[in-house]
């Protein structure tokens, strides 16, 4: 915690927060992945409550440390599947297990990047603050986060954003913003990254930085990425195909990055 001498309002609010108990946003689970990262059983869901079924009785599992691709034609329900796994859309039936927790208790482990992030336009926020929001996962109600600076710096550096940390978010390019959101997921300590076509509309340099992070550094997190690029598939350990409302798994993965044909 940085102990800079501060004005009386900020000292007052610190004293106020120090007195109050902290309530976690969600019941928390201990971190660490052993075995299966995502297990879906007989999952049925719709994109919208009054819309058609996106997929029916889908069952699959993704081992820890696996890089999995999610493919399928436009409108086949890839985004809905990712949203259900993230706990943002309710499944009609079936279950999702994150590790051995439900999406609700396991939510801190998940980071989800939508195709087009729905951020409030022109919100007065610097990139640094956006990345810092990842630390909220480790805090709760009635707590101000005065720490986490080091993790934020590190994540910004990893995504090649150190120089941009004071830039207002709305002045960033699409690629810079996408990298910022991944930096936030790093700060959050997410073990499972659900990415919805992250390369759509990215320039080459952003794409390379994200690739380097996802595919060549360590094996301590699990990736499920919706993608349209057939040339891209060779890098993945496992491929889930969503077609005609069903999910089929191609290519096995033993969880350590080596795949069997």
């Amino acid at each position: 915690m940085s102990a800079t001498p501060s004005s009386w309002p900020s000292r007052l609010s610190r004293a106020m927060f120090a007195l109050l108990p902290t309530l976690p946003y969600a019941p928390s689970e201990k971190a660490g992945c052993g075995g299966i990262a995502i297990r879906a059983t007989n999952l049925t869901a719709r994109a919208r409550a009054d819309g058609p079924v996106a997929f029916q009785d889908a069952s699959f599992e993704i081992p820890c440390g696996c890089r999995a691709a999610l493919i399928g034609p436009n409108g086949s329900g890839k985004s809905t599947l990712l949203r259900v796994l993230a706990g943002l859309t309710r499944a009609e039936s079936g279950t999702v297990l994150i590790g051995d927790a439900t999406p609700r208790t396991g939510r801190r482990r998940i980071a989800y990047l939508s195709q087009r992030p729905h951020l409030t336009a022109y919100f007065p926020l610097r990139l640094r603050r956006l990345v810092q929001m990842g630390t909220y996962a480790h805090h709760g109600w009635l707590e101000e986060c005065f720490h986490g600076d080091q993790a934020v710096d590190l994540a910004l550096e990893r995504m090649g954003l150190s120089e941009l940390s004071d830039r207002p978010v709305h002045t960033l390019s699409g690629g810079q913003l996408q990298r910022g959101l991944i930096a936030r997921a790093i700060v959050q300590g997410a073990e499972i990254l659900l990415l919805d076509e992250p390369y759509a509309a990215l320039d080459q340099s952003s794409r390379e930085i994200i690739d380097r992070f996802l595919f060549s550094q360590g094996q301590h997190f699990t990736v499920l990425m919706a993608t349209h690029d057939p040339a891209d598939l060779a890098r993945f350990d496992r491929i889930l195909e969503l077609r005609d409302h069903a999910v089929t798994t191609r290519r096995a993965c033993d969880g350590h990055g080596h795949h069997h044909a």
Partner: protein, 270 residues
């Protein structure tokens, strides 16, 4: 010059009015930052206008006008939320329905009370008639609103900026929206004495809109907004003291609009 600034301070009513304007200005500007950034200006208009039937009903039935105002504002918020809970009703039209229904009910009730003139202060504000007990209510609501905004700052900011991520973390963006509406209702009740039911929205929107033009972080937006509201409020109050032809409520709102205009012209385009 200095003497003419000091002269009104000898009057107890003016000092009370000044205190009320400063406290309410800061409260509304801080709340207003969220109102403006989340595009809730129309909802805040509905909440402030619906105070009218609440206060009139309270006068007819003989209970505290503040309770009546708060009740009516909460009723409006709940009604709009219920109407908009169907997919085929947009929130926009739900709020529009509640706004007009409540305001019409207020006018009908005023007819029952048979004395329109009593309610002029309610519609247009009469800051000079702020009494010690009004000041107490204004101070208490300001304390509640500002404490709430401080305690929930990171959640409110997160939910306003990236609702999906707030939901992912479990920071309850839906609940934050309700909390914000309740705080806006409280803030509206506290400043209806100053500028009246018709103009209370102005205190939420104009200073905060100025802040959005000048600030680059949320606390900066709130600080600029507060500065604008306090400056506009104080100048407006002096103006209506020396020029009785200018009603205080209208004077305050017009003086708040000047910094907005200046910021609009000066602030670099983003």
């Amino acid at each position: 010059m200095l003497e003419s600034l000091r002269e009104p301070l000898g009057e107890a009513f003016f000092v009370r009015a000044l205190t009320a304007v400063v406290i309410s200005g800061i409260t509304c500007a801080c709340l207003g930052a969220y109102v403006v950034l989340r595009r809730m200006a129309f909802v805040s208009t509905a909440l402030t206008h619906s105070i009218l039937p609440g206060v009139v009903a309270a006068m007819l039935l003989g209970f505290s006008p503040y309770l009546g105002a708060l009740g009516a504002a909460l009723l409006t918020a709940a009604g709009a939320a219920w109407l908009a809970s169907r997919r085929d009703t947009s929130e926009d039209s739900a709020v529009g329905v509640m706004l007009s229904v409540m305001f019409a009910a207020g006018i009908a009730l005023m007819q029952q009370a048979n004395s329109w003139r009593d309610f002029a202060g309610l519609l247009f504000g009469s800051v000079v008639s702020v009494g010690p007990e009004d000041l107490l209510v204004i101070g208490l609501t300001a304390a509640v609103v500002l404490t709430g905004l401080r305690l929930l700052h990171k959640e409110l900011e997160l939910a306003s900026f990236d609702e999906e991520y707030a939901q992912l973390l479990g920071a309850r963006p839906g609940l934050m929206r309700v909390v914000l509406l309740a705080l806006v209702a409280l803030g509206a009740v506290s400043c209806v004495r100053l500028v009246g039911a018709l103009l209370t929205t102005a205190l939420f929107v104009i200073p905060a809109a100025t802040g959005v033009l000048l600030g680059r972080t949320l606390p900066q937006v709130m600080a600029w907004g507060s500065a604008c509201a306090v400056a506009g409020g104080v100048v407006g109050l002096y103006l209506s003291y020396y020029f009785p032809a200018i009603p205080s409520g209208a004077g305050i709102v017009l003086c708040c609009a000047l910094p907005y205009l200046a910021a609009r012209l000066i602030a670099p385009r983003r």
